[in-house]
């Protein structure tokens, strides 16, 4: 599924307009997801190209998401990062979203839409 389509279905708020994927971009297909609030765990275990769902909004999220090669981050439960985080994400080409829904519900919807976690 394309990132922009996913964002529309889940009613996600785009935080990085500069890097938000458009439906026309061929490389915005997303097939994997990961959910964790421990960034050390994300760094070690998140599959490349995945969408991350997390409560953690601090600056390290961008460094970790970039290093792990993630496609986008969805901040759950209405949590919002500050401007420095958004600016850094745009510099790194990382897409950030915010959702009012909690992590469990977001992950459930992503799974229904066909995203899967790490291969075992």
């Amino acid at each position: 599924m394309r990132l922009a389509e996913l964002a529309q279905i889940l009613d996600l708020r785009a935080l990085t307009p500069g890097t938000a994927a458009s439906a026309e971009e061929p490389d915005s297909e997303v097939t994997r997801g990961y959910a964790s609030d421990l960034l050390s765990d994300v760094l070690a275990n998140a599959p490349r190209g995945a969408v991350l769902v997390t409560l953690q909004v601090h600056l390290n999220v961008v460094a970790v998401a970039s290093h792990a090669g993630l496609r986008a981050v969805i901040f759950s439960s209405g949590r919002l990062p500050d401007d420095e985080v958004i600016e850094r994400a745009e510099q790194e080409g990382l897409v950030l979203y915010s959702s009012q829904a909690d992590t469990f519900n977001i992950v459930g919807r992503l799974y229904e839409l066909g995203l899967r976690g790490s291969s075992t």
Binding site: S40, H58, V64
Partner: protein
């Protein structure tokens, strides 16, 4: 001799205690998130200019630059009118739950014992890591880069909080729950509660926490000294928060007495 101006010092003649101003949480450019301007000579110069008597160098998961800052402080003391800055050995350990724990150590040997143990648990860093997280500069006392730390200091150590505190105590150190008022990397953000059984010697808050706040009052009920530190990652953060203490001299041993509230040494809670 501490570098406080004479009119800032209150001497209690019976116990020869003096009031000292300490910032017990200062990063150098070894920490990947800290600025390159955090070199030993710049840190010492700035700390002294801001009226600090004591600092503790606490880089993430490493004591690699502590000695360089201590040497820089001795060099600056030799060049000045005798005013010195006491530099204590420390580090900021990231536990498995991503709680930040400050360790303060009696000497370099103790600090390096823990630093080496932790280093052995961390994944290696590569060029990609440095580009996303920042350089991890090992520095000389003159502020020259002499190498890069090759372990990922931004990573978490696979030890839970209790084990990190035990490790610090095992080396004769003091364990402090770092910046508990922050919404990330604090005992409250990561665990949801203050772990009373972990054995912390003190609690640290940032400059943002007001003494009138509910959290401050709650922390004072825990029966541990509460210190205030800058957690400086940039030079202009030095001196923005400090802890006032009554000690006989600016040393680790005196600090340990103050944390325990023994022999009239104490932390001032404003």
């Amino acid at each position: 001799m501490p570098c406080s101006k004479l009119n800032d010092r209150m001497t209690l003649k019976t116990r020869r205690l003096s009031r000292f101003r300490a910032d017990l949480h200062v990063h150098t450019a070894l920490s990947p998130c800290a600025s390159d301007e955090m070199t030993p000579p710049a840190i010492v110069r700035t700390a002294m200019a801001k009226g600090l008597d004591i600092i503790a160098v606490c880089d993430h998961n490493s004591a690699g630059n502590v000695e360089a800052v201590q040497v820089a402080a001795r060099q600056q003391a030799a060049q000045s009118d005798g005013a010195t800055l006491a530099v204590l050995c420390g580090m900021e350990v990231t536990s498995a739950e991503e709680v930040h724990v400050l360790g303060l150590f009696p000497d370099l040997e103790a600090a390096h014992k823990v630093s080496d143990r932790i280093r052995g648990c961390l994944p290696p860093a590569d060029q990609e890591y440095y580009s996303f997280f920042g350089r991890q500069s090992l520095l000389s006392a003159d502020g020259e880069e002499i190498g890069l730390e090759s372990a990922s200091l931004a990573a978490a150590v696979p030890l839970p909080v209790d084990a990190v505190v035990s490790l610090i105590h095992g080396a004769g150190g003091l364990a402090i729950a770092a910046h508990v008022d922050r919404r990330s990397f604090s005992v409250y953000s990561q665990l949801g509660f203050f772990p009373r059984s972990a054995g912390f010697d003190a609690i640290e808050v940032s400059r943002r926490l007001r003494a009138e706040s509910e959290l401050w009052k709650e922390l004072r009920q825990l029966g541990l000294p509460v210190i205030r530190s800058s957690d400086s990652h940039f030079l202009d953060e030095l001196g923005t928060a400090a802890t006032e203490l009554y000690l006989c001299e600016p040393t680790f041993a005196e600090l340990a007495l103050a944390f325990a509230g023994l022999e009239e040494r104490r932390v001032v809670h404003a």
